[in-house]
């Protein structure tokens, strides 16, 4: 079960034959992900990493029945690749690419929604359901199988959290890297909702950062939904100065609701267990679940 990706996911890689695409496709195949092929325009008909290459996503879907795509296409062409995937009937589109212009994403997002697809990212590490499928760039071994779901805007901070959760004797059901851009396909709330409804997830870690209102929106939803599962929250950027972009295109304090303080306060008001230090995520989760770390 779990969410978004599992052992039955049929995955294609867009930007399959490029450096990043090749390297991570190889890693995904080694992990056991069911990679059924890839797309690189004008290289259709060839074979790469032992899998067929197609010119278009449409061709790939027809030939393989793919339902999931991971995108490594360069930023200038990535929004186009996202729309192509949705148009071809792909249901879960995971976009790793960093640096896509906001204007492009602003158009791609409503388009793929209309097509009934789910977009994860862009500028994210992908999604992993340990033991079943890794559709992303994360180091697979860090994610031990278990029953804690993770939603995060950040890559390495997700690995950090997963590692601490493993060391606390727990494991991960599905970890969803939603991405650090100003416009992303799946919000914190939407990702939390998927895990809240997943019978194989007992608790959720929600990792956010400065900028935007996604964490506050998720926190309010969690309370309205009756705090059905314990949620541990962490917000990065308490020491970030206002008006400065901190690496991620979306990590910038514009107004007073964008600050880490505001987000932490709202999380606490809505019954979320807040880890004050990034080193305590695992411990706080163990406490929330009543297990000894």
């Amino acid at each position: 079960m779990s969410v978004l990706v599992n052992k039955n996911s049929k995955v294609i890689v867009q930007g399959f034959t490029g450096n990043e695409g090749s390297f991570h496709a190889q890693q995904m195949i080694e992990y056991g992900t069911n990679v059924v092929g890839g797309v690189t325009p004008s290289k259709g008909g060839s074979t790469h990493l032992g899998k067929p290459v197609f010119n278009t996503v449409e061709d790939a879907v027809k030939a393989t029945g793919a339902d999931t795509s991971i995108i490594f296409v360069p930023p200038a062409f990535a929004a186009d690749a996202i729309m192509e995937a949705a148009d071809a009937g792909i249901k879960v589109i995971i976009t790793i690419t960093e640096g896509i212009p906001v204007k492009d994403m602003m158009k791609a997002k409503p388009y793929i929604k209309k097509k009934g697809a789910t977009l994860i990212g862009p500028n994210c590490p992908g999604v992993i359901t340990p033991g079943e499928a890794k559709v992303g760039i994360m180091p697979g071994f860090v994610f031990r199988q278990g029953r804690v779901g993770v939603v995060s805007k950040s890559g390495t901070l997700t690995y950090e959290a997963a590692d601490q959760i493993s060391k606390a004797g727990l494991g991960i059901s599905t970890a969803i890297g939603i991405g650090g851009d100003p416009i992303i396909g799946t919000s914190t709330k939407e990702a939390v909702q998927l895990l809240m409804e997943d019978p194989e997830t007992d608790a959720i870690v929600m990792i956010g950062e400065i900028g935007g209102n996604y964490e506050a929106e998720a926190a309010k939803w969690i309370k309205e939904n009756g705090n059905k599962k314990p949620v541990v929250g962490f917000i990065a950027g308490q020491t970030a100065p206002p008006g400065r972009r901190m690496g991620h295109a979306g990590a910038i304090v514009g107004g007073k609701d964008d600050t880490a303080e505001a987000k932490i306060r709202i999380m606490k008001e809505n019954g979320i267990y807040v880890a004050e230090s990034p080193g305590e995520i695992g411990e706080v989760m163990a406490k929330a679940l009543g297990v000894d770390a």
Partner: protein, 405 residues
């Protein structure tokens, strides 16, 4: 990326948005020439002198050396020379620059647009920006022009007009009419405002901007609608396809260390603290800064070395952090996923030796693939470097180091 007011106004003008005309100058002599030219072109005999720096609050700001304000009205050509001499070359301190202020290298000599006539001049507020919550652009307007809009939104939210633009359709004329009517405009000024909004949106969209703020927009005494100031923020990720805008970047407005870091492919933001840090990944980098604070220090910087941390990037990072004299200790925090910790550790040792004479304590926290091998390499290097594996351990070591300073 931010651009100067005079550059933003040129962009606006190229899209047909009416602006308060002006000419930019580098010296008081040029400013005088600019004023004469402006007089010939527009008939203005008063001139607004505006310091060009990337910060707001210029009108109330003060030039440290001379006590002059950053925006001053000159009522004669003599005054133009005198006042521009007090602003150019000075250090302007505003609520947005911090106490150190910013050097003024350029001044905009602008026409006086508050001239008397049949009507009363009136100021409005207008901006277009990305609304992250809806994933669309929003037009914000208010009759409270010239004020701090956050304050207006706080105290009198009913005075803020908002109109969202469908990303797939773009702005429609009825939306511009709605905004203009809500601002209470009639007759010619109404028509002018509709044009102003439509052209402003075209400028915003065509520039791949994330913010265009015009505060104030002025209705002149003869019913024209003009942009008197302009604050523009452009999407860095789209500069590759807007080469003319990319060329407007002013490196003088940026921290030299940040510029240098950018050239080495590092994402660095200078802060004020005493503990430098170098991290892979932006989220973990921010979390590391927070942890430094929780350990009793203050972060000296944000530095994301990206996914492929190696000896070269670590060395470049070291060199940049060490140029900041406030730094008393450095924390390197890398979660080695696909990059192995032992290789990063070797990179750190190599970089350390290559720089030589680093006499401040360094804590290297490596977690992930081959973490223990990494720690061993650090511990056996014989250098003034301490290793840690868990984040908690790293935090404790930072605390110890700070206590011994």
């Amino acid at each position: 990326m931010n651009i100067h007011e005079y550059q933003a106004k040129e962009v606006l003008k190229s899209y047909g948005v009416k602006i308060q005309e002006g000419i930019v100058a580098d010296t008081p002599e040029d400013a005088l020439e600019a004023a004469k030219k402006l007089n010939a072109e527009t008939g203005t005999s008063w001139y607004v002198l505006k310091a060009q720096i990337h910060a707001g609050g210029r009108g109330k700001g003060e030039v440290k050396e001379t006590g002059s304000r950053g925006v001053v009205l000159a009522k004669s050509l003599d005054q133009v020379s005198e006042i521009s001499g007090k602003i150019l070359g000075g250090t302007l301190v505003t609520i947005q620059t911090g106490a150190e202020g910013k050097k003024v290298k350029k001044i905009l000599v602008a026409q006086d647009v508050y001239y008397p006539g049949d009507g009363q001049p009136k100021e409005y507020y207008l901006s277009i920006l990305l609304d992250r919550a809806t994933g669309s652009n929003v037009i914000m307007a208010s009759t409270e022009g010239g004020m701090d809009i956050e304050e207006v939104a706080e105290s009198t939210p009913e005075k803020i007009i908002k109109e969202w633009v469908d990303p797939l359709l773009g702005i429609q004329p009825y939306q511009a009419r709605k905004v203009a009517f809500k601002l209470g405009l009639k007759g010619n000024s109404f028509k002018e405002m509709v044009k102003f909004i439509m052209n402003l949106y075209a400028a915003y969209d065509g520039s791949d901007a994330s913010q265009f703020e015009i505060n104030p927009v002025l209705k002149t005494s003869d019913d024209q609608i003009l942009a008197v100031d302009a604050k523009v923020n452009l999407d860095d990720n789209a500069l590759y396809r807007n080469k003319n805008l990319a060329a407007l970047r002013d490196l003088d407005e940026e921290d030299p260390l940040e510029v240098e870091a950018g050239e080495s492919g590092l994402n660095y933001v200078k802060l004020d603290g005493n503990v430098g840090c170098m991290v892979n990944g932006a989220g973990l980098a921010m979390a590391t800064m927070d942890m430094i604070k929780l350990s009793g220090g203050e972060p000296a910087n944000f530095l994301d070395v990206g996914g492929g941390a190696n000896a070269q990037t670590v060395e470049a990072g070291f060199r940049i952090i060490l140029k900041d004299p406030k730094v008393k200790a450095i924390l390197i925090n890398v979660f080695g996923g696909i990059v192995r910790c032992d290789r990063i550790a070797s990179g750190v040792v190599e970089a350390y030796k290559s720089i030589g004479n680093i006499d401040i304590p360094i804590i290297v926290r490596l977690q992930g693939t081959n973490a223990e091998e990494g720690a061993k390499i650090i511990d056996q290097s014989g250098l003034k470097v301490t290793s840690a594996i868990t984040l908690k351990e790293a935090a404790e070591k930072v605390q110890q180091v700070l206590q011994n300073l």
